[in-house]
Symmetry: C2
Subunit: 426 residues, 2 copies
Amino acid sequence: MSETKNSERPQAAPAEPALDISRRKLLGTVGAVGAAGLALGAAGGAGAYAAVQPPDDTTPLTSVGATEVMFHGKHQAGITTPLQSTGHLIAFDLAPGAGRKEAAALMRRWSATAESLMAGKPAGGGDTGVALDAGPSSLSITFGFGHSFFDRTRLTDRRPGQLDPLPDFSSDQLDPRRSGGDLWVQIGADDALVAFHALRAIQRDAGAAAGVRWQMNGFNRTPGATGKPMTARNLMGQIDGTGNPKPSDADFEQRIFVPDGGQPDWMAGGSYAVVRRIRMLLDSWEKLAQPEQEKVIGRKKSNGAPLSGGDENTEMRLDQFGPDGKLVIPQNAHARIAAPEQNGGAAMLRRAFSFHDGIAADGSPDAGLLFVCWQADPIRGFVPVQRKLDRGDALSPFLRHEASGLFAVPGGPRAGEYVGQRLLES
Amino acid sequence: MSETKNSERPQAAPAEPALDISRRKLLGTVGAVGAAGLALGAAGGAGAYAAVQPPDDTTPLTSVGATEVMFHGKHQAGITTPLQSTGHLIAFDLAPGAGRKEAAALMRRWSATAESLMAGKPAGGGDTGVALDAGPSSLSITFGFGHSFFDRTRLTDRRPGQLDPLPDFSSDQLDPRRSGGDLWVQIGADDALVAFHALRAIQRDAGAAAGVRWQMNGFNRTPGATGKPMTARNLMGQIDGTGNPKPSDADFEQRIFVPDGGQPDWMAGGSYAVVRRIRMLLDSWEKLAQPEQEKVIGRKKSNGAPLSGGDENTEMRLDQFGPDGKLVIPQNAHARIAAPEQNGGAAMLRRAFSFHDGIAADGSPDAGLLFVCWQADPIRGFVPVQRKLDRGDALSPFLRHEASGLFAVPGGPRAGEYVGQRLLES
């Protein structure tokens, strides 16, 4: 998994699922190191920003700003990295005439930019300055390839079968202009200006090689807003992410990542991302009283505990009946249908951002979930769960899947390598 | 000015202009108090959220979540309150048939909701739960009345002359559908879910009395992303807010707020907000090399220092010539034209959010500044500065004013009072 370094981060990992991030605690307690600029410089971090601080400034960056996510590693960053407060998803199509050569050059530029920005350094070749003053702020930049990328680059013989189009779901109302794409980039950071800065740098790097197909903005809780790290809450007010596989699970790696020796070989250490823009029909949802909402979900709103009792991490008692003779967790409750034990074990890691794009033409909130889930194989991860939800989920009437993407996200780059090099140069 | 309470907040106030917020430090150092739930409960704070924490949970909220902005006071919150990381601006028009009575009832509902949410408590009558787990997170909710409000409520004899329409500026390209409005609400918080939660509660309270006219989302830096509190930076990468009047200035109150005994009487302690959606033409701006950008602004990008030398707070030497015989701060530099000393002293407090609504139909970023400025009189604050900028500002070619609003924001409510009561019930 991706590694982070520098100082403690209060909101680092959701309590459950515990993302067991190892950290090099270079700063230890905030304030223990006199000149953060120097300390970060020594760590290859935000040294480039020292210039904006007067020489006598000994205020260290707090953990929010100082946390750095590693660019190099077995896996790309932004998969097991703790959820950040700001996210941008952006898809590009290669320009007419651009092929494998241009794609390789673009991936090389993007990788150099990602490595620099994630270390808290400026982008090469004219930085916009928007991230000046801030530390890396847990910035992660993640790159993926869509189905059409392999046609455009004449690499169809190396296209993974896992990129075969997702099946149609009856409740889909997908907008093709906001779906798919040759290339996909996920940006996350705990500071909105750091994230925007990265987004602009990635767009500029695209140059004449690729144009934006669609772009979406999302958010999560700010580090420190809750007293203890919590599983994320979505805009329906529901805890969202309970039961996610944990890196400490014996089968975590095999469920989420393509193994060494897996097929295709260039995807070793990689993962597949399913991206869905899921509009929440909040005007309808908020008309339901809380007990009704809880029956739709099958869990308590306050703490995510199953209606059958316990706390968020207690196993659901799916066969429990109430005094009224009805199932306590209704037959069509979202949590029952999506439960890992009902789907051959959890085979995807959900890592979503909320979105809110203001008010739609019909007066309803254009808000919901930028659902992103990660798996070694979408046919064993997203597809079976969504197929079941599509048939009988009590939550479905309150959701609308408006856009969809499926991307092959290669393994993390080794030092000196760019993302996707094993595909594009072998 | 508005007061905040609870624990320390690392990012509390920009270093310059220093907003001299007094705080009751109830928690002192984070961690010094065993059970934050209890401590906050005792303070009338986030006690209602104790239910979601197991009884043995002694993790205190961090300063980001625990900071509470006071609803009651001489002035409304959200004016001298330190900038929050998330902002929502929303304007409403009274419904056909709704008048003074309905407006008074709405202001009463809104005030009750604002008081409760700003204290970290749920909204009455069915809370959506979106803010569960989080503390108040510096939430502020601010209410204002537009010019048309006084016609709708038949209170034209009490309408302040300060609400007379702003003059036309030659560079304006205003969209009337996103401008004006009978009622205006500004929401700010250091957590995006807390802010969204407040937005939905305010919308629900509007009920049949008022409908949304327009709504905009903005953001600023996350508390802790920088090593020390900094003046805000905008999406052009420029430090934005230098030279703002400071509460410690002798004439701060008289420049920003309507005095006791001022006219109209119901505006005592109030202020006027000018709101502009200023699109930044970033594709053009980013093509300029940094030295050219700095000549447009008249300040260094890195630290906001005038090109004539010093640091951010050094006075500009407007008559300094360079070795090339030209003015170091060019004649049309933004900072020169907007300089307080060029405009009879700074008479407005700028307090903006950045916005980024994705990519526009023409492929350019739909991003820029939700400019909000506060003053005792727009004719002495915003208008003269904007008139000068409109004529000769080197920055103008990179900006587009797309929407505009002007609102009378009454003084803060006393205990038991609702915002605007002195207008609506006397």
